[in-house]
């Protein structure tokens, strides 16, 4: 028996209480993982139901009202319950202290509190499903959201509470990254995932409170009619969109930045090459965080905001392309002449680059006012954000999930099945959403449960694609859950990665490391070091040996 199986964070304490009251960032990360995966499943079911209704024109399975509720719930659940906490709160919680060589995050109790606040927020959201689900879309635009009779208040209160959970994670991570780094780990020796989480936390902290107050004002507007958003009360509905997007545009970078962090880790590990342009990737994360606050008005070109404002926002929007492009080119340059191996995490990395490039380019298209006026509220927009959010964030999340799975559970998943699932997801995703670019450019409006006959072939392909996606995720669920119980034991460092989380056992011991680790090499020193069977070898030593043998 190896040491790893005798004592680790999973078996150190037993019983349900040891989980519910744990302050261990790894266990809290796992509880978050369980919660976000449940939400993902729920949101996924809603998505499949939406696609089912759209298989044929006319009313097939749901009424128009039910359909409105379905797409609202799909959006709200996926955004607030799944994708925002998915990488930072679930995976990030698990790996951040490990990557920094710390025993825990800076504020473990706040960490646990954030999880329970998440649960309370989720319960509010669930309650709104039972009590006549919201039908406003996840954006809660006024004046409809102040007049509809559905349960807007419980859903917005849910999102408000979830915001606090997100803020606490952000506060925690910022303090952790500033104060808990292992001796020797300077800012520019941190893994890029940490940089990405840092940038994410900054956005969480700066943007989420504005969403909080916005939703609070919306609730007060509904109950008291204070006249800020409701035109009948002298308010301005466009102002709601400003308030809302001041959070929600940066929020898409809360979603995608940590995904980019994962990709930076994966691309270096599986190319076994020093990451190209470390500092540029790090700075571009901060650059994206900053610029993300300057562009929200591009969601509002057709809302009635002033033409001057549209011009300013359109102009600023193009700047987002720069740091994203920097990242993309640096990843490609990292792969160039690398010794690439194609395990599942790397397949997701490549899928990310391909899909996010499409998502990003179409984003630039939509940032141009003249095009957006025509494309606004069509399937083109739907396809664009699914390419960035699902093709970007979810794919990166899956890559990270497979990458750290052996570290989390100490077990390997089935690589063959993983590749099959990847193929289903990659192909299924493109079939589902690439068709929607065509639908959108032909004028199919979003959020309609019915459509003209001419759109039917493309809608049909899109629905078939969604089924492929569903099959892919089912396979994944099977082999991942199977591996927890029956998977072969994972070595400490199955991928030969150099960042600190791989220096401890798989699964890690309760306080992460036997002794306080000290940074001895940088996270991407693949040019001078390699890992063989969990042992770190300096490449010069190998060469010397070879020379002697010759």
């Amino acid at each position: 028996m190896s040491v790893a199986t005798t004592a680790n964070y999973l078996n150190a304490e037993k019983g349900i209480k040891s989980w519910l009251f744990t302050l261990d960032h790894k266990r809290i990360g796992l509880m978050y993982l369980f919660a976000v995966m449940t939400s993902f499943f729920l949101g996924g079911v809603f998505a499949l139901l939406i696609r089912l209704e759209l298989l044929h024109p006319g009313q097939d399975f749901f009424t128009a009202d039910t359909y409105n509720q379905l797409f609202t719930l799909h959006g709200a659940v996926m955004i607030f319950l799944f994708i925002i906490p998915a990488i930072p709160a679930a995976l990030g919680n698990f790996v951040l202290p490990l990557m920094l060589g710390a025993k825990d995050v800076a504020f473990p109790r706040l960490n646990l509190a954030s999880f329970y606040i998440y649960v309370v927020g989720a319960l509010f959201a669930l309650y709104s499903i039972v009590a006549g689900a919201v039908d406003t879309g996840w954006t809660f635009y006024t004046p409809y959201s102040t007049t509809t009779s559905t349960s807007v208040i419980s859903m917005t209160m849910g999102a408000f509470i979830l915001g606090f959970s997100s803020i606490f994670t952000g506060v925690n991570f910022i303090a952790t990254i500033h104060k808990m780094r292992a001796p020797g780990m300077t800012w520019f020796k941190m893994p890029l995932m940490v940089w990405a989480l840092y940038a994410t936390s900054i956005i969480q902290v700066l943007a989420t409170p504005v969403l909080g107050i916005t939703l609070l004002l919306l609730v007060i507007e509904r109950t008291v009619g204070i006249g800020i958003f409701d035109p009948a009360m002298g308010g301005d509905p466009v102002l709601f969109q400003h308030f809302f997007w001041f959070y929600s545009h940066p929020a898409v970078y809360i979603m995608v930045l940590p995904g980019m962090g994962i990709i930076s880790e994966l691309v270096a590990t599986f190319s076994k090459k020093k990451i190209f342009g470390y500092k540029l990737i790090a700075y571009s994360s901060l650059g994206i965080a900053l610029i993300s606050f300057l562009v929200w008005g591009h969601h509002m070109f057709t809302s009635g905001q002033s033409e001057f404002s549209s011009m300013v926002f359109s102009f600023l929007t193009f700047f987002v392309g720069i740091p994203s492009g920097i990242k993309m080119f640096n990843w490609l340059a990292t792969m160039y002449k690398g010794r690439i191996t194609f395990e599942a995490p790397m397949l997701y990395t490549i899928a990310f680059m391909f899909l996010f490039a499409i998502g990003g380019f179409t984003g630039i298209m939509l940032g141009a006012i003249s095009i957006d006026i025509h494309m606004h509220d069509t399937y083109f927009v739907v396809a664009h954000f699914h390419y960035t959010m699902m093709g970007g964030t979810v794919i990166a999340f899956l890559g990270g999930l497979h990458y750290w799975w052996p570290k989390i559970w100490g077990r390997m998943y089935n690589e063959k099945l993983a590749k099959v699932a990847w193929a289903f997801i990659f192909v299924g995703f493109n079939v589902t959403f690439f068709t929607q670019f065509f639908l959108g450019s032909q004028g199919m409006p979003r959020r309609y449960y019915n459509y003209l006959d001419q759109y039917q072939p493309l809608h049909m392909y899109s629905t078939y694609g969604s089924w492929m996606l569903g099959v892919g995720f089912l396979i994944m669920a099977y082999y991942l859950i199977y591996s927890i119980y029956k998977g072969p034991k994972a070595p400490n460092n199955p991928w030969g990665a150099l960042s600190m989380e791989w220096q401890t056992t798989s699964p890690p011991i309760q306080h992460n490391f036997e002794d306080q680790p000290v940074l001895e090499h940088e996270p991407y020193d693949y040019d001078t070091r390699m890992v063989v069977n969990d042992e770190l070898i300096k490449k010069e030593d190998v060469k010397e040996k070879e020379d002697i043998n010759v």
Binding site: F107, G170, M180, V210, G212, V224, G225, G227, G235, F243
Partner: protein, 215 residues
């Protein structure tokens, strides 16, 4: 003795030393204060945009706020900030009784603030100057005066909630001080409470001229 000093009970296991713990906690608090500023930021936006749209209405409506009460409250809140700062200073010097007294003083001024606020509110309620659709006052001859009172009540209301939360936290650290949990080596919770309380004061410093002193 040497060992005991190295690992005091208030040093959490995952920190290397007190300096790291204190600095992390302070940083965390400052980051949290940032979120508070932006939370109020939405309301400052509410104020700014509507004041720009309805300058005359704001001018007319603000005359119905009581400048004397507002000014008194400003003095009260600044004094409470002073006593809070002095409470921390007393604990830095290890003077437990002084700390408790200053914290009690802070609580007292906070309560005075709320009492004055209560009289202002009840007067407004009585006159029908309520926010939104409950607005019934007819004395202001400008478009949409209810919006000014919506701004007034949401801003001072959220601020008042913060005062109440602050009072709860101050009571809590006061009890902990009585229980001898703090010392010149470890008084971090009082310090963080102080930061929070000063922020509540800071926000009022802006609310006061914006609402009461429109030219």
């Amino acid at each position: 003795m040497e060992q005991a000093e190295k690992h005091p009970s208030y040093l959490q296991h995952h920190f290397a030393d007190m300096a790291q713990q204190t600095d992390a906690a302070k940083l965390g608090m400052w980051v949290f204060l940032v979120t508070e500023v932006l939370l109020f930021g939405g309301l400052f936006g509410f104020y700014t945009f509507f004041r720009a749209w309805y300058p005359e209405m704001f001018m007319e409506a603000h005359k119905y706020l009581d400048v004397t009460m507002g000014t008194t409250n400003t003095f009260v809140l600044i004094t409470s900030s002073l006593t809070m700062a002095l409470a921390i200073r007393a604990m830095q010097l290890g003077k437990k009784k002084q700390t408790i007294a200053y914290l009690a003083g802070t609580l007292f001024f906070a309560a005075v603030f709320l009492v004055i606020k209560y009289f202002e509110y009840s007067h407004k309620f009585h006159m029908g100057m309520l926010p939104g659709k409950f607005y019934t006052f007819e004395g202001i001859q400008a478009a949409n005066p209810h919006i000014f009172f919506s701004v007034y009540f949401t801003m001072t209301g959220l601020h008042g909630i913060h005062v109440i939360i602050g009072m709860i936290i101050i009571t809590w650290v006061m009890i902990r001080t009585m229980r001898d949990e703090f010392s010149p080596e470890y008084y971090n919770p009082i310090e963080l409470t102080g930061l929070y309380w000063h922020l509540v004061d800071l926000i009022w410093i802006f609310l006061f001229p914006l609402l009461y002193l429109i030219g």
